[in-house]
Each structure stands twice: as structure tokens, then as C-alpha cells.
């Protein structure tokens, strides 16, 4: 049986010389635990990678899966969610709701070709400033290794032949 893939995608276009890849991470932190922990990391002058931008929400339960998708869609290489430890939610149960959504969303993202390390949920209490540092550094490191987000289903295709280009040009 002939293999069509060699016919369709022999040549991956050469990447031009580019500046070193710096991953971008959008983080959604709940105001009571993880946002406070990030503040604590600040007041304690801990140092961590500058790749994360935090969006504050009242509770991890507010994080709509649409926000995660929107972040990836707009160019984030990773999304980090931070909430209170199980049992510690300021609103009692919001973090459990977050957990349920995240578990299901993770399966969807994986199926859509987004690597597991790009989407992370961490429980970080207001007292755990160092955990913010450790998690962010670790995530950025992993994203650096993964490279920019590219959905794996969109493998590079061979360049079109002139005839095919002509076909693509709409003649009307």
C-alpha cells in the first residue's frame, strides 16, 4: 500500500532564525488563597520567572472553561489555575467545582492536541508564597521544553504546487 504521507508532507519549511522562545502563561488565581500567596511571594522578595500574568478572580469556581480556551486561543503557551486547598475554599466548595471542570477540560484539551503540561491546576494557600515560586518556575521550564503551543493535529504540510495554488485562487 503506498504511503501518502511522504507525498503530502516531505518538506517541513525551515524555521527562520528567531529569538529564544519565551513561553507566555496566563494564570487565574483566586483572590483568597493563591493571589494572596503570590502577594506573599512578592513581600518576601522571592524571585521567579517573569512569564506569568495573573488574572484575579474571587474564587477558582469562577473560572469558566471558556477562559482557559480563550487564553490558549489568544496565544498563551500555558494556563495555570490556582485555588484554595480542598476543604479550604473561602466559599466552601468553589474549588471542588473548579476541580471537576478542570478534570473534564483536561481530557478535551488533550484530545485537541494540547499537551498536559500546558494546563495546570494547583492548590496554593495564602501561606504558601514559596509554592507560587516553585510552581511558576517549574511550569515555565516545562513549557520552554515543549516550545510554542502548536496543536499537534496541525502538522506542517508540504508547500503547494503551482497548480494547486491556482486551484486555491478562487476564480470568480
Amino acid at each position: 500500500m503506498p504511503d501518502v504521507s511522504s507525498n503530502l508532507s516531505q518538506a517541513v519549511p525551515l524555521e527562520a532564525e528567531q529569538p529564544a522562545f519565551e513561553p507566555r502563561v496566563v494564570a487565574f488565581f483566586c483572590t483568597w488563597c493563591t493571589y494572596m500567596a503570590a502577594d506573599l511571594a512578592g513581600t518576601s522578595r522571592m524571585k521567579y520567572a517573569p512569564n506569568v500574568r495573573v488574572i484575579r478572580v474571587m474564587c477558582s469556581g469562577r473560572i469558566d472553561p471558556q477562559f482557559v480556551l480563550a487564553a490558549f486561543a489568544n496565544g498563551a503557551d500555558g494556563v495555570l489555575i490556582g485555588g484554595c486547598h480542598p476543604g479550604d475554599c473561602h466559599y466552601q466548595e468553589g474549588n471542588y467545582n473548579c476541580l471537576r471542570r478542570v478534570r473534564l477540560l483536561k481530557r478535551v484539551l488533550e484530545e485537541l492536541g494540547i499537551e498536559e503540561d500546558r494546563f495546570r491546576l494547583e492548590w496554593i494557600s495564602a501561606a504558601e508564597g514559596d509554592r507560587v515560586r516553585v510552581v511558576i518556575n517549574d511550569m515555565v521550564e516545562k513549557l520552554r521544553a515543549l516550545g510554542p503551543l502548536q496543536m499537534k493535529k496541525e502538522v506542517a504540510l508540504r508547500p503547494l504546487s503551482p497548480e494547486e495554488h491556482a486551484l486555491q485562487e478562487v476564480a470568480v
Binding site: 502577594d39 512578592g42 474571587m58 474564587c59 469562577r62 469558566d64 489568544n74 496565544g75 479550604d88 466548595e93
Partner: protein, 665 residues
């Protein structure tokens, strides 16, 4: 709140203020570059940087720009919103705009303080400002709601913290419900003999306050009672309280205690909890002579009437017409309404059996500090004599510090009081027995008024101090039951094995065993160690993250009596401050249903932990009670048709923030 101008979104004019915070921000972030960048963003009319935007001139600058340039949205890039969001909202309001036409950007805690690369920190600042500028365009004017505050207060726990807070509040004319789960108030302090470093008698200073609680017309005291449920919100809590049966009608009992004498048990046979099981009591008893209320209690576990139903009930006979004894008493519950709550639920002493190599529970002459406290006490099981279980007077005593504290295997924290109470016990044991006393310590921690002086005094009295953690305690073979205490003396660099008659383990303080249940009931959080978490370790040490719930005493962390009393007073003052204003302004970040488009699918209803969402049968749609809503937004994220929105955190506002963060060139 100043009258607000509603603003047409098309006429958005944004002012961006970048704070230097001295060099705190400007040292790492190029504030000038941020300002120049902000000025290029769509909608931005004015962008400035200033040394301290939160200062009075900084605030005036914003107000002037609002008036002179017609700004109608303000973005301040400075410290954490947790610090100054309120400040700047007020500035915006004072200038005549709605205070919620404001967004704060955290370029200090989340940027300049955590990064060293200036370029990267500046780029991050640009992204954050761009997100805020996009977001603030979509902000809507909001009103804070005022909720009145019920002046009654609930105080949970009748130890010295609860007692002091109760008296403070009651003296200020507020009604106090004091709930204690034991049969008497007094807590741990009632068990102590003397208190360090002044050596005044604990009972002498505590019992007048206990009596004052009982007789105070503003205090409702409930012993043998527990809080089972807390509903509502600051100013308007509904609290359900369970009253366990005492089998004695409190109002009928006069505390004559004739029933105790008359009990069919001629001898006291039941191990006595108050005396750390070193003494005995009868099934009908009073916990200790000064107990408040002065009312007996029946222990159904040991009472023959409860066990067999065939007791002669001599207690009932002797009670006669007073008819105070009621074997049929049932558990009851009642609900009260209060505006504020003070938690003073105290601590749990570390279980020394968790350090098996110290032999507690194995060797009879190994005691805990609290047990010795009872032995020393004149009202204790030995009438104040420090004697061993076999009746001997100890001649050599070892006191082991840091049992269950500063230990990787148990608790890493210092329990703060053990060094001082170990010194106190050393002094008292020596005084009572003239024994030779050895204190084994890691570090001697005496940071308090008169503490170091007390240490010197005890040292001068001849107590031996060995610096070293005790590694093992075991019987000294052929030495008549004496124990060997082994430790490396780190000052002498030798291993010492000291034979003693008695070992006192200075056990540390732990959170109450049910602290996790309690904090869930009151919607507060715990620190890693399990003590209740204060809102801010320095600036809000008695507040919690739940408005209207305050902390006093060791439930927040180990502390001594003076600190406990000071904290109890502070908690009472915080509660009084709330009550005095009479109302509280609530953040308007509540959720609401877009009624015309809600399909009534009910997905949101069970997700609300506050039962704020209900199904309106007439409209077949969900409804949110704004007063009950606390603004978590869980229902918003779960609404499958986007028909629930949260003020300040609307979907479109958050999308704008996401897109803004990532819309870099």
C-alpha cells in the same frame, strides 16, 4: 458615596497612573516606558507616573485630572489591590465618578518584587496595564449595599479568651451568647496552679471573672452546648446551637451538692477528667469547686440509673422538692441571631504518646506538664502534694521541653509557652519537694515581660539546665524504678544519662482535634498547622477572611495568658466597632440572573454554598438573592447558557482582560 455619573461607553476616557513606589517599583520596572506605552493604548487620554500615587498629592493628581481632563475611567498600576484598591476607589468616588470605574494593576508584588530582569519586568508591566485598560472600558457603575448589623454577639469557647471577650462586650452593653461545650467555663486556665512569671494563682484571678460572666445581665451562658450550624452573613448570622443534656435542671439546682454525697457510689470511682484522670469523681459531680455554673452534672456513662435503670436514685431523694435531677432530659437545639462571632475555642495539648521513646503511658512516673499542674494545685487530686503514683516524693525530677514542638516528626512550630511553664514547674516542684530538678531544653525562649528575669531566678534557685533534646527515657536497671533520661548535652558535648524519679513532659499546644470541622462550620480557613488563620498576620491578627468572624486566644495559635487576653480584647473591640457603625457596606460583586434569557435549567442552584439561588416557580427561571450571594461566581462559570453574570467579573470583562494580556505586538 458621591453621586455617580453614568458614562456612555463610547466616550471612554481613561487615565493611567504608574506608581514608582519610591524605588520599590521604579527600581526594577521602567515606569517611564510603562507610562509612554500606556499613553498609546486606545481609550487612554492621560498617562502619568508619580513617586507615590497613594500619597495625598498622588490622589489629588488623579482627582484633578478627572475634573480637568474629563477622565471617566482610572487605572492605577502600583501595589496589590489587596492593599490600595479601596483607597483608589474612594479617590475616584470623591472626584464624582462611580468608584467601580477603576482597575488596579499589581506591578509590585507580582512584578518588581519578584523579578530581577528589568526588561522582562517592564514587558510584563505593559501586558498587565494593557489588560486593565481593556477591562476598565467595560466596567459598569455599581452601588455598594448597606446591611445592618445585629448587635448581639456569639462567643464560642469559655476559656479565658472567651470569658474576657464576653465581659468586654457585655460591659459595653451588647448582648453576648457564650457557648461552651464542657460543663463549666474556665478552660485550661482553670486547671493551672500558678501563672508565670508572676506566680499569681490562676484560680484567684480567673474565678472572679467566671462568676462575673454568670451574673452579668448581658450574657447568656450556655454550657454543655455546641454550635452545629452557621448561616447568614456579617451582621446577620443565624446560629444553631445544640444543648446536650446535663440531666440536672440548671435553674432548679442550687449547687448544694448534697446529691453528690448521697450518690449510691459511696466512693468516687470514675477517673476525673478535670484532674487529668489522676483523681476520681462520682457519676454525679461538679467539675471543680469553683465551676461556673455551680450546677452538678450527671455522667451517663457511669451512672447506674442510665446503665441498669435500677438505681435507688438517692440523689433524687435528697434533692427532694427542688426536683433538679431529670434523667429524661433530651438534647435540644435552638437558633439565635447574632451580628458578629468571636471564636475562642482554645487548643489541644499534644498527646505525649506520639513520642513513644519518652515512655509516657508506659512508665508510670512519666507525667505531662498539665498533670503535674494538677498535682501541684491545692485543689488537685493530691491536695497539692507532688507525689508519685506510689506515694513517694520525688527526689530528682527531669523536665523535658519541646515535646511535640520544634520537631520534624510532630509539630515544627514552637508552642511559645512551654519554656516558661517548664520554668514555672521547676520552681514549684522545687518549692514543694526540694527535689533536684533538671530542665532539658533546645533553646531557652523567654521573650516577654519579666520572663528572662524569671529564668534567672529559677537558675539561681539551683535548677539544672541541660541544653539538648532528650533522645530516650528508660528504666535504670537495679535502681528501684528510677528512669534514665538520655540527652546529648550540646554545651558540654557529652551524652548525659541522668537518673530521676519523675519525668515531666512539657507538651506543646495543638489545634483542637475538631478544628477543621469548626472552621468549616464558620466558613474560615486554617493555617498549615491547623490553627485558625487570621486575615493578616500583622495588620488584622484577630480578623478572619469571613467578615464578622473574629479570633481570640490559642485557636489562632499558641500564646500565653496575657497575649490571649489582649487578643480577646482586640476581637471584642473589632466586633464593637462593627456594631457601633450599625451597618456594613458589601462589595457589589454579586451574581445576577439575566432573567429574560435564563432557560431555568437549574444547573446553578445546587452549586451555591449559601442557598442564594432559588427556582422561581412562577417564572420557571432561577433567581439570586443578592443579600445572600457572597460573589464567588461559581454559578456564573457553570451556567451553560451564559445567563448568570457577576458584577465586576462579567464574562466579557474577563475575556477583555485575557485578550489584553496576550495582545502584545
Amino acid at each position: 458615596m458621591a453621586e455617580s455619573k453614568d458614562i456612555d461607553r463610547n466616550g471612554v476616557q481613561i487615565g493611567v497612573y504608574v506608581c514608582h513606589c519610591g524605588t520599590n517599583i521604579a527600581g526594577t520596572v521602567d515606569v517611564k516606558a510603562l507610562t509612554e506605552y500606556a499613553a498609546t493604548l486606545p481609550g487612554v487620554t492621560m498617562a502619568r507616573n508619580y513617586k507615590y500615587v497613594c500619597s495625598t498629592p498622588g490622589q489629588e493628581l488623579i482627582k484633578r485630572d478627572i475634573h480637568e481632563l474629563g477622565l471617566n475611567r482610572i487605572v492605577v498600576a502600583a501595589c496589590s489591590p489587596c492593599l490600595h484598591e479601596k483607597t483608589f476607589r474612594n479617590v475616584v468616588a470623591e472626584a464624582g465618578l462611580n468608584p467601580y470605574y477603576f482597575q488596579m494593576v499589581n506591578i509590585r508584588e507580582h512584578d518588581s518584587w519578584v523579578h530581577t530582569d528589568k526588561r522582562a519586568a517592564t514587558e510584563k508591566g505593559k501586558d498587565l496595564i494593557r489588560a486593565a485598560v481593556r477591562r476598565v472600558r467595560l466596567h459598569k457603575p455599581l452601588e455598594r449595599k448597606r446591611v445592618s448589623i445585629n448587635p448581639a454577639v456569639l462567643i464560642v469557647g469559655g476559656g479565658i479568651a472567651g470569658i474576657h471577650a464576653a465581659l468586654t462586650m457585655a460591659n459595653a452593653g451588647k448582648h453576648v451568647y457564650l457557648v461552651e461545650r464542657d460543663a463549666t467555663i474556665g478552660g485550661h486556665m482553670a486547671m493551672f496552679d500558678k501563672t508565670f512569671p508572676t506566680l499569681d494563682c490562676a484560680a484567684c484571678i480567673l474565678t472572679p471573672k467566671m462568676t462575673a460572666v454568670k451574673s452579668h445581665h448581658n450574657i447568656t451562658l450556655w454550657t454543655l452546648s455546641e454550635v452545629t450550624q452557621v448561616d447568614g452573613y456579617v451582621g446577620n448570622y443565624q446560629v444553631t446551637i445544640k444543648h446536650k443534656p446535663r440531666y440536672v435542671i440548671e435553674d432548679a439546682c442550687v449547687g448544694c451538692m448534697e446529691c453528690i454525697d448521697a450518690c449510691v457510689y459511696k466512693q468516687a470511682k470514675v477517673p476525673d477528667e478535670f484532674n487529668m484522670y489522676l483523681g476520681k469523681r462520682k457519676p454525679i459531680y461538679i467539675p471543680f469547686p469553683q465551676a461556673v455554673p455551680q450546677v452538678v452534672v450527671i455522667d451517663r456513662e457511669s451512672c447506674i440509673e442510665f446503665k441498669s435503670g435500677k438505681c435507688k436514685k438517692t440523689c433524687v431523694e435528697v434533692c427532694a422538692d427542688r426536683k433538679a435531677i431529670d434523667f429524661k432530659q433530651q438534647e435540644t437545639t435552638e437558633t439565635i441571631e447574632v451580628g458578629t462571632i468571636i471564636l475562642a475555642t482554645g487548643f489541644f495539648t499534644f498527646d505525649a504518646k506520639r513520642v513513644p521513646y519518652y515512655g509516657y503511658g508506659i512508665y508510670p512516673n512519666v507525667y505531662t506538664g498539665l498533670e503535674v499542674e494538677r498535682l501541684i494545685n491545692a485543689a488537685g487530686p493530691t491536695n497539692g502534694e507532688v507525689i508519685l503514683r506510689d506515694g513517694r516524693k520525688p527526689q530528682r525530677v527531669a523536665i523535658v521541653h519541646c515535646v511535640g514542638s520544634r520537631d520534624e516528626n510532630t509539630n515544627r512550630y514552637c508552642s511559645r509557652v512551654c519554656c516558661m511553664y517548664s520554668l514555672k514547674l521547676a520552681h514549684l516542684i522545687k518549692e514543694k519537694t526540694e527535689a533536684e530538678v533538671f530542665n532539658f531544653y533546645i533553646d531557652m525562649r523567654t521573650p516577654g515581660k519579666g520572663f528572662e528575669e524569671f529564668y534567672n531566678r529559677v537558675a539561681d534557685e539551683g535548677t539544672h539546665f541541660v541544653r539538648g533534646r532528650v533522645a530516650d527515657i528508660y528504666p535504670n536497671p537495679g535502681d528501684g524504678g528510677r528512669l534514665l533520661v538520655c540527652a546529648e548535652d550540646t554545651l558540654m558535648s557529652t551524652v548525659r544519662k541522668i537518673p530521676v524519679d519523675m519525668v515531666v513532659l512539657s507538651t506543646g499546644l495543638e489545634p483542637q482535634a475538631d478544628a477543621q470541622d469548626v472552621r468549616r462550620r464558620f466558613h474560615i480557613t486554617c493555617s498549615t498547622e491547623g490553627f485558625f488563620l487570621e486575615r493578616h498576620p500583622k495588620l488584622a491578627p484577630v480578623n478572619t477572611f469571613t467578615d464578622g468572624v473574629f479570633l481570640a486566644g490559642c485557636c489562632q495559635g499558641p500564646k500565653d495568658i496575657p497575649d490571649t487576653v489582649a487578643q480577646a480584647g482586640a476581637a471584642a473591640a473589632e466586633a464593637l466597632a462593627l456594631i457601633d457603625i450599625g451597618y456594613i457596606e458589601q462589595e457589589p460583586n454579586t451574581a445576577h440572573v439575566l432573567e429574560e434569557v435564563c432557560s431555568g435549567c437549574k444547573t446553578c442552584i445546587p452549586l451555591c454554598p449559601y442557598q442564594a439561588i432559588s427556582f422561581a416557580e412562577n417564572k420557571k427561571k432561577a433567581e439570586i438573592n443578592e443579600v445572600l450571594c457572597k460573589g464567588c461566581g461559581t454559578c456564573v462559570a457553570s451556567c451553560p447558557s451564559g445567563s448568570v453574570q457577576q458584577n465586576l467579573f462579567e464574562d466579557e470583562q474577563i475575556f477583555a482582560e485575557i485578550e489584553g494580556l496576550l495582545a502584545y505586538a
